[in-house]
């Protein structure tokens, strides 16, 4: 039955690359690009054609990453989330990933729907939604740094790091 964890690890990596790759695209590229595009009146190209597609893959890859991670933990799921001895490193990574998943589905996506006009919203609501989605996205970018440290080293290299 070693096949299932190997499959889960592969899916976890692929979906994770897509999720965090798109998160970095939003934060490192799109935020600055939108500011520049708004100045010359070309922002609609991004908000109409790029952002909705990027958000589609972003939110679903986040969910697939979490589910594949949970499958990978298998019987260690509860011990990891309760930060049991020897599993605290990967457990902290799992908690960070869970907080980030909540940010995607609970804050970023509902507010982006208002910003992109998929849900009705007043100008005032849109301004508030823009700030909330931005801060949740930046929070996830910040959390991705320890997340990737604990994912990369929290289990396989825990002895090296003394975790």
């Amino acid at each position: 039955m070693d096949f299932l964890p190997a499959l889960a690890r592969w899916i976890h990596f692929m979906a994770g690359v897509m999720w965090i790759g798109l998160l970095y695209y939003f934060n490192f590229v799109q935020v600055a690009a939108l500011k520049a595009a708004a100045a010359d009146g070309t922002a609609a190209g991004i908000t109409k054609h790029v952002a909705p597609r990027a958000l589609l893959y972003f939110r679903w890859s986040a969910l697939v990453t979490w589910l594949a991670g949970a499958a990978l933990l298998g019987s260690q799921f509860i011990p990891a989330f309760t930060l049991s001895k020897g599993l605290a490193g990967i457990g902290v990574g799992a908690w960070l990933g869970t907080i980030m998943l909540f940010n995607v589905w609970g804050i970023i996506w509902p507010n982006q729907q208002k910003i992109l006009g998929m849900k009705p919203a007043t100008d005032e609501e849109k301004t508030k939604a823009r700030r909330l989605a931005f801060l949740a996205s930046r929070t996830n970018t910040m959390l991705s740094i320890p997340l990737l440290f604990f994912m990369a080293g929290g289990w396989s290299h825990r002895a090296l790091f003394g975790l």
Binding site: N27, F28, L83, K85, G86, A88, G89, V92, L135, R138, T139, T141, M142, L143, S144, I145, P146, F149, F150, G154, R158, F161, G162, L163
Partner: protein
């Protein structure tokens, strides 16, 4: 005080600081 998350560098530095804090917490109290 300015929110560090408003700038990209502030976000990255905050992430690195948080990594160090969590690392020492896990190593010191949970490992």
């Amino acid at each position: 005080m300015k929110n560090p998350l408003d700038s990209l560098w502030g976000t990255v530095i905050s992430g690195l600081v948080l990594t160090a804090i969590l690392y020492y917490v896990v190593r010191g109290f949970l490992a």
